[in-house]
């Protein structure tokens, strides 16, 4: 049963299993385990990014396609939901049709880009996605009458998902079950379902074919697979899932803007999360997203505290000043790529074998 749910793709390493369980359970009970709004924000962000990164792994790790347009698809989903919520009011119906419309637009974009440019060399596809994504980001910031430009969109979400709504008055473990908690569980449940779906896709005949195409597209053609169609389908599927992750973000944040969805910085973060976690493993997305976001959220504070604690030491305290956190993240990244070229998951699995 569990094996079926994981599509026969078990973690295959005791340490990895333990880590994944800790992450799953923490996320599942986050509203009750972790105090404060900041930690709940972080947990929701982790859920959303796990899906986003996993959908990128389908493309990069399984199909061997490098795309820089993943945040564009993420943004299309977010803006679809945001526009629906601001135009047809804060109802669940708006969320559903907005997300569906976003996913559809993302699919059409991906189909067009894929058919147009996946026939030729991989580098050309990467360049096309970079160009299209940059153009899209500029377009969104210019069309301020529709998208709110650089300021983005603020909108209302259904009352049942806001902190003002109380499911019942009693508290569980000192936490009142309000709309924010419900909203979190919406994010968590959808993210979990999407992740399990992706896990199934990569272990399906289709997923295996993608790996064959990644390994040797020339031979894949010669045994009868139409490589362009497989690559395009993978691109479309990954775009749709990224768009749905964007919709989750739009609902969770009640705000959608270029900086939270479309920026190149997020694109690079996604790349780092896939590589740190381990390409072509799916579980790598879980570890990569979790570690990266935790570092992003808490490293700064941690370093600030450490810096002031040893403020007497001249050079070292400067080196670990709070605003140097990106430097250290960079160092961590270089070290992890150097020592674990197959990512954390690859390393853990190898340790067992």
């Amino acid at each position: 049963m569990l094996k079926r749910l994981l599509s026969g793709d078990t973690p295959r390493s005791p340490v990895l299993t333990a880590l994944l369980l800790v992450i799953l359970l923490t996320l599942a009970f986050a509203p009750f385990l972790l105090p404060g709004t900041k930690s709940l924000e972080t947990a929701a962000r982790i859920c959303i990014f796990i899906v986003l990164v996993a959908s990128y792994d389908l493309l990069l790790g399984y199909a061997g396609i490098v795309s820089f347009a993943h945040t564009m698809f993420f943004g299309i989903g977010a803006y679809g939901t945001a526009l629906a919520l601001s135009s047809t009011g804060p109802s669940f119906l708006s969320i559903v049709w907005g997300s569906a419309a976003g996913a559809l637009v993302a699919a059409l974009f991906a189909l067009a880009i894929g058919l147009f440019s996946l026939r030729v060399k991989a580098i050309f596809f990467a360049m096309v996605t970079l160009a299209v994504a940059s153009a899209f980001a500029v377009l969104v910031s210019q069309m301020s009458w529709l998208t709110g430009g650089e300021d983005g969109l603020n909108y209302k979400i259904p009352r049942e998902l806001t902190p003002a709504f109380k499911l019942f008055s009693a508290k569980i473990f000192g936490t009142s079950v309000n709309g924010k908690v419900l909203s979190y569980y919406l994010v968590f449940t959808v993210a979990l379902c999407l992740f399990l779906m992706l896990l199934r896709v990569v272990n399906s005949p289709f997923g295996r074919t993608l790996q064959a195409v990644r390994d040797n597209d020339f031979r894949a053609e010669a045994i009868g697979y139409r490589v362009v169609w497989y690559r395009t389908t993978a691109t479309v599927m990954s775009a749709v899932v990224a768009a749905l992750a964007g919709s989750l973000l739009a609902v969770w944040l009640r705000y959608t803007g270029p900086a939270t969805t479309l920026s190149m910085e997020i694109m690079i973060d996604i790349l780092l999360m896939v590589v740190i976690g381990g390409m072509g493993t799916m579980y790598g997305a879980v570890l990569g997203a979790t570690l990266f976001i935790l570092a992003q959220t808490y490293l700064q504070g941690l370093m600030g505290a450490a810096s002031s604690a040893i403020s007497a030491v001249p050079v070292v305290s400067d080196l670990i000043a709070a605003d140097r956190w990106l430097l250290w993240l960079g160092v961590l990244f270089i070290l992890s790529v150097y020592f674990f070229p197959t990512g954390i998951v690859g390393r853990l699995r190898k340790a067992r074998a």
Binding site: N203, F218, A220, Y225
Partner: protein, 257 residues
């Protein structure tokens, strides 16, 4: 049954790369159930001719016909679906996947299940069984779980042939199947080719340098030289021709291969 047409035929097939004519008006018919050896010195255009038949290259002019139907413009997967299969000269496998998975992927392609997204690949038992069956034929069954990139060269060549057997096409193209194999492994491959030809009535095209292999397997030889077909016929007769002696055997000592 329409046995009028030869199963495979090329008519004046030509390909130019800039000013260089790599294959020059080659017309040749391959009757069903025969094994034709294609010989010629290095650079004669044998592999290019293969590429024109299996579709990796498209002819500048001329036609390629399969069962009488024009496939000159057809893509590689289309030709594969119509029954042309090829084993490659330089081993051309899926290196990061297991031996079994390589063969299973061929069986999966043949079953048309490549776009099945929501079932588990390993739940298609019949494809795995098919893969195991083929691996047993090429004596690689015990290596099923190994990753291809870790295999010896000889085993990779065997797997190359296994992929072709799993595909089970009407026309099988072997491009130097025994190149770089150890002496004791060669007979395994040759027996397989013999079985394919005799028991399964398949049409086989074989690029080969070793004359003893050609003598023991081929029904017919065609000779390419500078891209043109210069001789064809029974093995003994062709090998005896002066042009073959000069163009082929004279220039390419066995030891160099």
């Amino acid at each position: 049954m329409t046995t009028e047409h030869p199963i495979l035929e090329t008519r004046d097939v030509t390909i130019r790369f800039g000013g260089h004519v790599a294959v020059d008006h080659v017309s040749c018919a391959f009757p069903r159930g025969t094994l034709t050896a294609i010989v010629g010195p290095n650079g004669a255009g044998k592999t290019t001719y293969f590429n024109l038949i299996s579709g990796q290259l498209k002819a500048t002019s001329g036609q390629v016909l399969l069962n009488g139907a024009d496939i000159t413009r057809a893509s590689v997967p289309e030709r594969t679906a119509r029954g042309i299969g090829r084993a490659f000269q330089l081993t051309n496998l899926f290196p990061s996947l297991s031996v079994r998975e390589n063969v299973r992927l061929v069986a999966q392609a043949k079953a048309g299940k490549g776009f099945d997204m929501f079932s588990m690949a390993d739940s298609h038992i019949e494809l795995i069984e098919r893969a195991e069956h083929v691996l047993a034929e090429v004596r690689l069954l015990d290596d099923g779980d190994r990753i291809v990139s870790a295999l010896s060269h000889g085993d990779q060549r065997k797997l190359e042939v296994a992929l072709l057997i799993a595909l089970g096409p009407q026309v099988l193209m072997f491009d130097e199947p025994t190149a770089g194999m150890s002496v004791d492994e060669v007979p395994v491959i040759l027996d397989l080719i013999r079985t394919l030809k005799q028991d399964m009535d398949r049409t086989i095209l074989l690029v080969e340098h070793k004359m003893d292999v050609i003598r023991s397997l081929a029904d017919r030889i065609i000779v390419l030289h500078n891209g043109a077909l210069v001789a064809e016929g029974e093995p003994a007769a062709v090998i005896a021709m002066p042009i073959v002696q000069e163009a082929y055997l004279g220039k390419v000592p066995e030891a160099a291969q």
